[in-house]
Symmetry: C2
Subunit: 245 residues, 2 copies
Amino acid sequence: MTYCVGMLLDAGLVFLSDSRTNAGVDQISTFRKVTIFERPGDRVMVLMGAGNLAISQAVVNVLHEHENEPGIKGIWTSKNMFEASLAVGEALREVHKRDAEALKDHHIEFNASLIFGGQIGGEEPRLFCIYAAGNFIEATPETPYFQIGESKYGKPILDRVISRSTSLAQGAKCALISMDSTIRSNLSVGVPLDLLSIKRDELKIHSHVNIDENHAYFRMIRTRWSESLRHAFHEIPDPEWMRRS
Amino acid sequence: MTYCVGMLLDAGLVFLSDSRTNAGVDQISTFRKVTIFERPGDRVMVLMGAGNLAISQAVVNVLHEHENEPGIKGIWTSKNMFEASLAVGEALREVHKRDAEALKDHHIEFNASLIFGGQIGGEEPRLFCIYAAGNFIEATPETPYFQIGESKYGKPILDRVISRSTSLAQGAKCALISMDSTIRSNLSVGVPLDLLSIKRDELKIHSHVNIDENHAYFRMIRTRWSESLRHAFHEIPDPEWMRRS
């Protein structure tokens, strides 16, 4: 399983991904699920994948291959993030064409979803969620984030806190709290985590931190958030009709 | 969809259920999913169902039919909660025998899960989760609650707050917070809610409250919990490496 969240804020973009993969509970490994495409001053893009790891890795390889093929509109030559997302969708379709039939023979679903965001040239930062069919949706002011993978445990805090005016630092903090709730409830989501941010108009990666179980800030969040929830819980009065129960 | 949670505490049992059912997003109705079996002074049991409503309603009917059939060990003649759970499991198997083949013809899965808890005579209160196959597991001190239906959004707060020593009133409060997180994230879970408690050794329903959208306590929880989460979020320091982002 996987849990990834991407946010589109006025200040820029935040990306957080775990790194656990599993093929059954007895085959658990650590793989990075984040790929950075960066040409400082020109464009910066981040891709995260959930689902079948072979598929999302293949997509990244196809994108790299396209880099050197003349005549193909890849992510390095796209004029804007919409074109770049089309290129990622096309890469996914290429992998589907190559692998889907064989996967079907083995009763394996072609299961992949991607979060793709960044900024190209003078355009605004943009964020997309790309489906297995290669089609995609874009984040809007009403829904400034996307989640892929094991998304439910960590959704309530995002819904309550994140809006477009959230700062990058607050976005990162909220993403880590959301990840903490997910890790506590699903064994197949785990550290190390990749936490990245892109600051609007910098056209490069603003920060990239790798977080393992000894990371002081994440440890603080894990402890403090539990304490805060318990404290908040006890601050709310008990139901009157049961007070003496 | 449905969300139900049942808790086994030292003080007794707490049950909370929503009442929304849907067959597609354009066919949403309100149905009670909680059934009380009570003979004050002798036994008190509560059954909640998720999955196919026709199945869980049929189970209740079979249990009532068994009441008057001599020679059948039903929930009214069971000597303890284990026997009563076997009777509920048997009722589920009877419904399966009658309906599963026909459901299969219509490509409908035999989908049902039940939470069943209560107290009989001098035995301790006990809580069970009964699966579609009629088999079941019992709550233990390590895992004092069961959820059925749309369980993920509301699980983190249960994991952080509920232990066997939680009072009935606190258990009810926590169940309502868990329900609030679920209702916010899943349109097909909704009010009115049924909130019940059984106090240890009372051998009757201790409290039964029906909660609709105008219920003052639930409205207070909905507002206060969101405020508390946002407050707790802002109390946690932002990540240092991003503070000026």
